[in-house]
Amino acid sequence: MKAPVNGLPQVSDLHHRLQRLRRPSEPPSGPSGDDASGALGLERLEREMLGESPGDGEVLSLKARLERLVAVAAVKETERRGPAPVPLEELVEGMRVENERGEFFLVETAVHLEVRYGDVPLSRVHAIDPSTVGILTAEPELDGFDLRRAVFLDTETTGLAGGTGTAAFLIGVGSVEGDRFVVRQYFMRDYHEEAALLHALAEELVRFDCLVTFNGKMFDVPLLHTRFHLNRGRFPLSGVRHLDLLHPARRLWKARLESCRLQSLEAGLMGLRRHGDIPGEEIPQVYFDWVRRRDARMLAKVFEHNRQDIVSLAALAVLACQWVEEGRAEDPRDVFSLARVLERARLYDRSEAEYRRALDLGPGALRGPALLRLAWRAKRGGEHDRAAALWAEAGEAGEVEGWRELAMHHEHRARDLDQALAAVERGMRLVEPQRHRDVRSQHLTEGFERRQQRLLRKRAKRGT
């Protein structure tokens, strides 16, 4: 051992000390109180060769240990003689692109707009009304959003942690070009290709004035901002109108489908099932393996996964618009959801029609909520008697709010104290059993009790 200088061991010990960082529970080394250090050292050597961590506690016979050593050596041989890495160009059709920041790999594919995803061909995009996206999202700034002039974007990254250590190694962008939907995938074959990739991507993106993503607001866009910053550039689409389809998708379909992950929507709405698709959580490791071994077999699946994500994104965007325009929903849960979406967009007549349709489709868990929304609209519109009837119906369907509103209506508007008390009593029957179990029930019960006291006092005063 080299004598330390200034209390710190010498540089040449660094490698040794780094090795110890790896295996912190090594048994003692050096001339300590080790008995028969010779035997101990040999055993350690064997363990190292076997790749075992020390302290496994197992005591093997010499024969068993030798057998193990031989077996391990054999495996290592096979690994080395394994299949040779398959280069990228053999599995993915693309080209090397060079620009002033270097080079990267670009893949371009296209599908015909007439191809159907589920029932709907992508060509439907031409028939979408300019106001639809604004309605879909209830965001007035997205009024006039034209999917034909939008870029559909999805990234594959080295992790979900966010932060500056996460890179987007594959960025896919799709858009309508003539009678096709073209997907361009920008790929960095190694980290030093990122600058060139982003440069080319920026040039491509400047011609778009709207962006469509799936969860891009929380993930893809902030990530691209970071990557551009780190490469001394600027993300060209900041400030552009952005349709993040995740939120409208949830509003339209979560009531029925529960999972609104892109692949669940694909399957549930368009009947598409992917085969041999690579799970998202494995993707970062695929890229790490690729940069080390340059074997494209798993990587090719990532390209396909990304391409499919973008095409599905476009198809879903078209489908969502169509739903809003044509009222295609049939399941009462979908109809109710659609009604909510229309209501948020202030299309009250249409939304009311959808609520009614939901009711007509028969009893269900959403009957009560549908009645409530209709009642609210009636009240807003000044149609109090109609509202009252709807509150009562909602109450019968189990909605406490219905009884509460009805009670208020009778107390303050219709001035019918008996009816009001009846409504209060019905309401209490619903929440009283729950009052100790959750705060909301407790509040509602107390509210009813107060109202009841007040009504009784009023009635007594009137002498009725």
Binding site: P28, A161, Y191
Partner: protein, 810 residues
């Protein structure tokens, strides 16, 4: 709003002096007075300077409006040095207006250049809140639009974006910088591109492992600033330590200018050292420091003097709170005038107590060193220190909590029975003249450095021959590449893992998980927290847990869930855990025969485990029972110095095997105490353990009471050392990876042994006492003699007969 019992200022001096007088005339059996020292420090008037010429007029106006007629000299000096482009460290006592030393240049610059940005770093959130409030006050008075915000774990998500965009001054702590800001630096472009000042408060607390981490965080910050084209100046503020400039330079890796002549006024101060009276001369036993401190504190408190008592452990804190409450809160309406304070209390409660102290509704507080740092608690009349807190710096800081700008104050250090404390009590000049301890860090501790290199690579790929730290960076990068964490492309090293490296690094301890303490007496509710490392010894099953004077029984200890359940219990005893420590040698850096022994230092593996507990009666401190426990082991790698006593020497001693074993325990006690003294480090920075070369490794408890009947008790599976006993006495760095204490100790070996021998020989006790080798009951009736014999044999060439005759000197 002051407490009815509290006196007005003019009465204070009289009351304080009368208490001191009372202490002075107290005597003990025999002739030793209890006050072994009473020093007087005269008041210091203020030294004032004009406002600097170039100061922004609005700032000058505001300060005048707030009653400032000028600046203290050190405030002016700090401002000038910062204007001259220097990196500055300001060292002045508490309440000397050090915040203005950094607020002034920062606000001045922002007023002149609204694009300028500053980063303020405080070690705790409580301090950050305190200082932020003050900053806000000044800014409001100026009336300018300067955004200052805290950015830490509690900042709500929707506020974070706004803060990034609008804050001129971002107030945060090293942990948040490490986890929440640096790895997301692209969101902080405005701050980093325009960063002009980094303010580091309480610099002295950035020592040891924590300081080593922070140095690396600063390396990462400076690296990012370079990427964004800025080069901020560091303005640091520190309490008194032996080497503030050196520490600041080590932390920031910049040349530092020191500003340390305080111009702030200081009231008159008295500092007394109190040695509890001897109650049993033959056994050398003194009245316990805890009980003496209680009596001294009561003398102050009963006269309405606001007093802070610093206790050496959480347990001692709670016991003392119990005693003081018993004495003073008997009257109705007097509840809450005595409070306890420690880190494990919930934040809301701590804020309440701090406020109570400032406003005067809290008369007395018993605290761990948690209140040592600069949280504003107003000016107190007296400070009582239960035992020497382990470093001269801490002692002065604790004493400094009494008396701020004007008026008289008193600090009393109550010595306990340990050799260290007794040494100070008998040699007060040593304490008053002692150089204050140095702050030490080891930022290139490999475990720490490598973790931060991972974080740095995550933040920005390493390029070519970029420097980072003082080890061979290239080799470390290659090592990380082998670990599949980095990938080299061209001349850059990229992070290739989907994990977030900052999550794996805890800045303060091995694990960052706190245990939650839940009171299940009625509705379960969380009442306190305890850190991971302390949990097994503080809240093991069947422990008595004390919180603000109330006792609880620990019913359940769930290590996996990090949760402990306690229930109120009326008990008359408390518990103290017994820890076994085992040390294994991993690597020897150096070894050498010295006289007849051997000195060594190197890397070791330390495993400690709580194996049982004692039950101790309140007030009388009688041992009334014990219990066994099976608790998880705590392990770490660190560096150590150790003494090896050769087998031949041990065998030649004229004592039985058991006596020889006890003698080694006795010796280790003394060595541990004096090591801290000579290293001028905090006693808690070191750990002591024993080993046995004759068996490869052996376990022994850390010099405290043994379990079970009699003195031979050991854990069942652990054979005691046999005749081939060759003891290793380890003194190790109490931090993973070590912080550089072992090598100096290795060099001090000769002096350490010689002084130990002198101390033991000069001690007037017969069989050993806490002032030399440990209480006789714990080291055997011959522990002292054997320890001396060992030292003689090791220090002097072959003289067994001499050892024998020395051993019988009384």
């Amino acid at each position: 709003m002051s407490h009815p019992l509290a006196l007005t200022r003019s009465d204070n001096e009289g009351a304080l002096l009368s208490v001191l007088k009372g202490l002075e005339i107290q005597k003990t059996l025999g002739t030793d007075p209890v006050l072994t020292a009473l020093r007087h420090f005269p008041a210091q008037p203020a030294q004032v300077a004009d406002f600097p010429e170039g100061l922004h007029p609005k700032l000058r106006e505001t300060l005048l409006g707030r009653g400032y007629q000028g600046l203290y000299t050190h405030q002016r000096e700090a401002y000038e040095q910062v204007q001259a482009g220097k990196d500055v460290v300001v060292v002045t006592p508490t309440a000397s207006g050090k915040t203005l030393c950094y607020n002034l240049p920062v606000l001045d610059l922002i007023l002149k250049d609204p694009d300028a940005r500053a980063l303020y770093l405080f070690p705790t959130k409580a301090l950050a809140q305190d200082q932020l409030a003050e900053l806000h006050g000044v800014i409001e008075a100026i009336g300018a639009d300067i955004g200052t915000f805290t950015y830490d774990g509690d900042t709500p998500q929707d506020a974070r974006k706004a803060i990034r965009a609008r804050a001129h001054v971002v107030v945060t702590n090293p942990d948040m910088l490490h986890k929440g800001i640096l790895p997301h630096h692209t969101k902080w472009v405005k701050l980093l591109e325009n960063l002009r000042y980094v303010v580091v408060d309480e610099l002295h607390s950035l020592r040891g492992v924590y300081g080593s981490h922070v140095t690396n965080i600063f390396r990462r910050l400076r690296r990012l600033c370079e990427f964004y084209g800025s080069r901020p100046q560091f303005i640091c503020s520190s309490a008194t330590i032996g080497n503030p400039r050196e520490l600041a330079e080590a932390l920031t890796e910049r040349e530092m200018t020191l500003v340390d002549r305080s111009g702030a006024p200081r009231g008159e101060r008295y500092f007394a050292i109190y040695n509890p009276p001897v109650v049993n001369r033959q056994l050398g036993i003194r009245k316990s420091a805890l009980n003496s401190a209680r009596d001294v504190s009561l003398s102050f408190l009963s006269k309405g003097l606001q007093t802070i008592v610093f206790a050496p452990s959480r347990l001692a804190t709670e016991i003392l709170v119990t005693y003081l409450k018993e004495a003073l809160e008997a009257k109705p309406g007097s509840e809450g005038i005595i409070r306890g304070y420690r880190g494990g209390y919930l934040p809301l409660k701590r804020r309440e107590i701090e406020r109570g102290l400032r406003e005067g509704s809290v008369l007395g507080v018993v605290s761990t060193n948690a209140l040592e740092l600069g949280i504003d608690i107003g000016s107190l009349d007296a400070a009582v220190l239960v035992g020497y807190p382990g470093s001269v710096a801490s002692a002065w800081q604790q004493a400094g909590r009494a008396g701020r700008r004007t008026g008289t104050s008193v600090a009393v250090l109550v010595a306990n029975s340990t050799p260290l404390n007794q040494f100070i009590a008998k040699n007060p000049d040593y304490f008053f003249g002692a150089p204050v301890e140095q702050g030490r860090i080891n930022p290139d501790n490999l475990q720490i450095l490598v973790n931060h290199i991972k974080c740095a690579a995550f933040e920005l790929p390493f390029v070519g021959d970029e420097p980072f730290g003082r080890e061979n960076l290239l080799e470390i990068l290659k090592y990380l590449e082998e670990e599949k964490l980095l990938h080299r492309a061209g001349d850059r090293w990229h992070w290739t893992s989907d994990s977030y490296p900052a999550d794996a690094v805890s800045l303060r301890s091995v694990s960052s998980d706190n245990f939650v303490i839940q009171d299940v007496t009625r509705e379960p509710r969380i009442v306190a927290e305890v850190d991971y490392d302390s949990a097994p010894s503080m809240v093991h099953e069947k422990a008595i847990y004390i919180l603000e004077g109330r006792t609880y029984f620990v019913e359940k200890y769930d290590h996996e869930e990090r949760r402990v359940e306690i229930r109120e219990a009326e008990v008359d005893y408390y518990t103290d855990a017994i820890t076994y420590t085992k040390v294994r040698i991993l690597e020897r850096f150096a070894e050498e025969p010295r006289a007849n022994g051997r000195r060594n230092h190197g890397e070791v593996h330390v495993a400690s485990q709580v194996v049982g507990f004692k039950k101790i009666k309140f007030h009388t401190n009688e041992n009334v029972g014990s219990g066994e426990l099976v608790m998880p082991e705590n392990e770490m790698h660190t560096t150590a110095y150790w003494l090896t006593v050769p087998r031949e020497i041990m065998q030649a001693l004229p004592f039985s095997l058991e006596e020889r074993r006890d003698g080694v325990v006795a010796l280790s006690y003394t060595l541990g105490q004096l090591a801290a003294l000579f290293l001028m480090c905090d006693r808690h920075d070191l750990g002591v353990a024993l080993g046995d070369n004759g068996q490869g490794e052996a376990r022994i408890e850390r010099g405290l009471l043994r379990l079970g009947a009699g003195r031979g008790g050991r854990r069942g599976d652990d054979p005691p050392p046999g005749d081939d006993y060759e003891p290793n006495v380890f003194v190790y760095d109490a931090y993973p990876g070590g912080i550089g204490l072992s090598e100096p100790l290795y060099r001090l070996h000769d002096r350490l042994l010689a002084e130990s021998r002198s101390l033991i020989a000069a001690c007037p006790c017969t069989d050993g006492c806490p002032s030399c080798v440990g209480p006789a009951g714990e080291v055997g009736s011959n522990g002292k003699a054997v320890a001396m014999a060992i030292l003689d044999a090791v220090l002097h060439p072959r003289n067994p007969s001499r050892a024998d005759s020395e051993g019988s000197v009384r």
